[in-house]
């Protein structure tokens, strides 16, 4: 994920809670409210388990949601078409709490934010991939969809099996542990706040 791309030493040293405040207060000009709000909401999910759907490399945004359906009124109207060019039946099979494990460059392509929204609306609790495309990554964070980067799991993964994610540590699968980067709190806080919209509402004194 985004932070996993930052060299390890930078990740450990530079991104601190102070940075989080810096980032968010800069973004929201002169208010400390937001960061305080976010800090209050930080609640690290420690461990969760889910059934896995396995997808390949370069799962693009047109696969996640084809342009044809982008002008439908709501995400709920659209979500049935999720992944339809590749696996038309998949959207109907995914159940709440499932996990997607994919190859490299997941979410490449367009800026359509419906992509992460649909994945979330289908009930997927996180996507574990070898790597993620940039715009998709930002959109996911802003919508509170958890993304985890893991280079090896995909190669070993069998669809239908379950994995257990131990946040900031590793993924457990088939008796083996696949290490994952620790999630910086600033991104985790956006996810936990329920996305950027809620954060901005707070900024504007609405919640």
């Amino acid at each position: 994920m985004f932070f996993a791309k930052i060299p390890r030493h930078t990740r450990q040293n530079a991104i601190t809670e102070g940075d989080l405040e810096c980032i968010l207060t800069h973004n929201c000009e002169g208010t400390e409210q937001l960061s305080l709000y976010l800090v209050r909401y930080i609640r690290i999910m420690e461990k969760f388990t889910g059934r896995v759907w396995v997808l390949g490399d370069d799962i693009d945004t047109d696969i996640i949601i084809p342009t044809e359906y982008l002008a439908l009124k709501t995400i709920d109207d659209m979500k049935q078409y999720g992944f339809s060019p590749l696996r038309p039946e998949l959207a109907g099979q995914i159940q709440k709490g499932d996990i997607i494990v994919a190859g490299k460059n997941f979410g490449c392509g367009s800026s359509r934010e419906q992509a992460p929204e649909i994945i979330k609306a289908l009930g997927i609790q996180c996507v574990i991939a070898k790597s993620f495309a940039r715009i998709f990554f930002r959109n996911s964070i802003n919508n509170g969809l958890l993304l985890i980067e893991q280079p090896d799991l995909h190669d070993d993964m069998k669809e239908g099996d379950t994995v257990t994610v131990v946040m900031n540590e590793h993924v457990d699968y088939n008796g083996k542990q696949y290490p994952i980067a620790s999630l910086p709190e600033n991104l985790m806080s956006i996810i936990q706040a329920g996305g950027l919209v809620k954060a901005m509402r707070k900024l504007n004194g609405l919640d």
Binding site: D19, N27, D62, I63, K73, P85, S111, E113, M200, R201
Partner: protein
């Protein structure tokens, strides 16, 4: 220490030197929203509780993906866009003038050195005039509309040097396809691409636009060209000192440098269904095709239409093959009329459709079905992008596409 172009642009914006990995908050110079996403931006903006736009003049709303409307619900997007523009005092609304990325530079909304965001991944296009531009989602757009700012991480830069003279049948499209093939579809993820070299200097702004447009297909955050006299002429400005300074310093730190000799490049295609599955056209010759599409923000400009017209002049599109031509903007359409290009294309049998995203975004304008094959000049050949998942999409330059239309099969341009 020296700076890359992106580092200079960000320094100028934030007022202090930056290095890759720094997270900074920038003041946004301009934003673009298009018709598909405006209802979502509007909803998020109001949900966030903002009362006004940070600067209505810096916001541009463009209807292009849904023009002309092809489905019952499409026009709702126009009504919601119009209502949002009226409520918040936006004047910059284009309702049928062409594709957003073409209009942003053509209509003068983007200048060298600007920082621009758009709700479309091909926003990288404006790097053709030396602007830092990138695609974002509608939630972030809504937050910029309220605050005028955006946090970014300063990207590392990959330098691409192309020296020499391109062969006659090779266009800038072939250059960027080759580069994407070499880097891979995620080869530049979160990085800036900086283009330089004598071949780049000789390119028109339109050709540079093709390259910047497709930078996202290698995952790049942005693509940058140094503004020069061609840029100045295109933007109808005189470059100021800052804009002139947007050259990568000799001692700037690049993640890597990729070098091409222009003379070595050949016409290529991206084969189904990956943008980085690049093959020489010569190895694909003889493959039968059903349709050719010349258009999009990648390759719907005057020089692209002129190149196609040159190939098609006095010839006919092959029997049972459709040629669809969609100029990228109203201005280009009118210039192409004046130069007789549209008549040449129509005489050859092309269907000329109104400027817009058309077939490229897969909503209308020549959708295909199982077993059909299309050669197209746009930027993506993803599975199902132009119809069913059993449609094969080959991406190519306008010259190659036009030659294929005449032959009814894949051939190399002369």
């Amino acid at each position: 220490m020296g700076e890359t172009v992106i580092e200079k642009i960000i320094r100028n914006n934030v007022g202090h030197a930056v290095k890759p990995g720094d997270i900074v908050t920038v003041n946004v110079d301009r934003v673009m929203i298009h018709d598909i996403f405006i209802p979502f931006v509007a909803e998020k903006f109001e949900e966030m509780g903002f009362q006004k736009l940070w600067d209505p003049d810096k916001v541009v709303l463009i209807y292009d993906h849904l023009v002309p409307a092809s489905q019952l619900d499409d026009t709702r997007h126009f009504h919601e866009g119009d209502a949002f523009a009226e409520k918040y005092g936006m004047k910059n609304v284009h309702r049928s003038d062409g594709i957003c990325h073409q209009l942003m530079t053509e209509a003068g909304y983007v200048k060298p050195g600007n920082i621009v965001f758009g709700t479309d991944s091909h926003t990288t296009t404006y790097g053709c005039v030396g602007a830092f531009s990138s695609g974002i989602g509608y939630t972030e757009m809504a937050s910029i509309l309220g605050t005028g700012t955006m946090w970014i991480k300063v990207p590392e830069t990959i330098k691409v040097v192309i020296d020499g003279e391109l062969p006659n049948n090779v266009m800038s499209k072939d250059v960027i396809l080759r580069l994407i093939g070499d880097l891979g579809a995620d080869g530049a993820t979160y990085r800036a691409l900086e283009f330089t070299g004598s071949a780049v200097k000789n390119m028109s702004v339109a050709s540079r636009m093709t390259i910047a447009n497709m930078a996202i297909e290698a995952g790049a955050k942005c693509a940058l060209f140094t503004p020069d006299e061609k840029t100045a002429e295109y933007c109808e400005i005189e470059l100021n000192e800052f804009q002139k300074s947007l050259v990568g310093d000799e001692d700037a730190k690049y993640l890597k440098t990729v070098t091409y000799r222009a003379e070595d490049l050949v016409p290529v295609m991206a084969c189904p269904s990956q943008v980085d599955k690049i093959r020489d056209v010569s190895t694909l010759e003889g493959t039968e095709i059903d349709q050719v599409f010349i258009g999009s923000c990648t390759n719907g400009r005057l020089e692209d239409l002129a190149a196609a017209a040159e190939v098609l002049k006095g010839k006919k599109v092959a029997d049972y093959v459709k040629l669809i031509v969609t100029p990228a903007s109203r201005k280009i359409y009118r210039q192409a009329i004046e130069l007789g290009i549209l008549d040449t294309l129509a005489e050859a049998g092309a269907m000329i459709t109104h400027p817009g995203c058309g077939l490229c975004c897969g909503r209308a304008g020549g959708i295909l079905t199982d077993g059909e094959r299309v050669v197209a000049t746009n930027n993506r050949n993803f599975l199902g992008r132009m119809g069913t998942s059993k449609v094969e999409i080959y991406l190519a330059s306008p010259k190659t596409a036009a030659a294929c239309a005449v032959a009814g099969k894949i051939v190399s341009p002369k």
